[in-house]
Symmetry: C2
Subunit: 152 residues, 2 copies
DNA sequence: TATTGTTATACTCTATAACTATA
DNA sequence: TATAGTTATAGAGTATAACAATA
């Protein structure tokens, strides 16, 4: 057996090539990068990504219920309560009785909520165009198609 | 002005088409879908995604420091401490003095850690193949390329 | 003076159990 | 009996400030 001790290795440049070959690693990095910019650009509206998603679904689905929001966004009901309360307190949304289900409350945008979301969705469109500038129009469409294929 | 009250609308099928047109929404959904399967398949090794990432970087970069891990993975130093302590307590990794920097400790896989990661990376490869089965080989490569383009 | 690793701590996000009112 | 909305609470993930040892 050898009596010489091996020199202890150290790292100069970190090799991340293995992780970069994994789909999950890349998908997470890309999602975080896009969402980081989204957070910055939505800050003037005081909207987090989840607030934007909720308001956007209410805008395009007037009368949607909390339960439907939870199912669509993968949010657990207890975690939606404070979120909706906060948006109601800001008078961006209003609860109205559901015409078919006495247990449920339909959610609707107020005039202020509609105005805010009109501006916010315009900003979101700018963001998409910004991302698209790094990708060609075809690449952009391809990326969305492949991402959907992964999670659908 | 109208004296008739408008009927209150309700939602039957939720329309998510607007959100589905946004890159951030799709990237996040795809990342969560992939990571969910990753979590399930790594559970037998008692490894969360972040544990796998850390051990994998140590495997491919023997002697890497905590600071280098943090920079590579976007983890803040205080949040890495418990993680590394836990892996050391499980005797999957060992700290050795850094040959060039007395402040730093180099991280190395133990024999057990190497054996575990050999199996875990084999499982990760199976996972990739599984994802690839929903995508063609070309689509898989295209997706990785476009995702990198988004965050690099 | 700057950096590595660390402690303490706070804030956000996510998850589970249990309750009420209604279907 | 099952479901919608809610409360309370616990756990995981992420963030900042500050310190000792070393560069």
């Amino acid at each position: 057996m050898s009596t010489k001790s091996e020199p202890i290795p150290f790292v100069d440049q970190v090799d991340t090539s293995y992780l970069e070959s994994l789909l999950g690693y890349n998908a997470r990095r890309a999602a975080l990068a896009v969402i980081e910019v989204f957070i910055e650009r939505m800050a003037p509206y005081d909207l987090r990504p989840v607030d934007f998603s909720v308001l956007s679904l209410i805008l395009h689905n007037p009368g949607i219920t909390s339960r439907q929001l939870c199912a669509s966004l993968g949010i657990l009901p207890p975690n939606l309560v404070g979120l909706v309360n906060s948006l109601e307190k800001r008078e961006l949304i209003a609860r109205k009785p559901h015409p078919r289900d006495g247990r449920a409350m339909g959610l609707h945008l107020s005039a202020a909520g509609q105005k805010l979301m009109q501006a916010a969705e315009r900003t979101a469109a700018e963001l998409e165009a910004q991302a698209a500038s790094r990708l060609t129009a075809i690449e952009q469409r391809t990326l969305l198609r492949l991402l959907k294929k992964v999670y659908e």
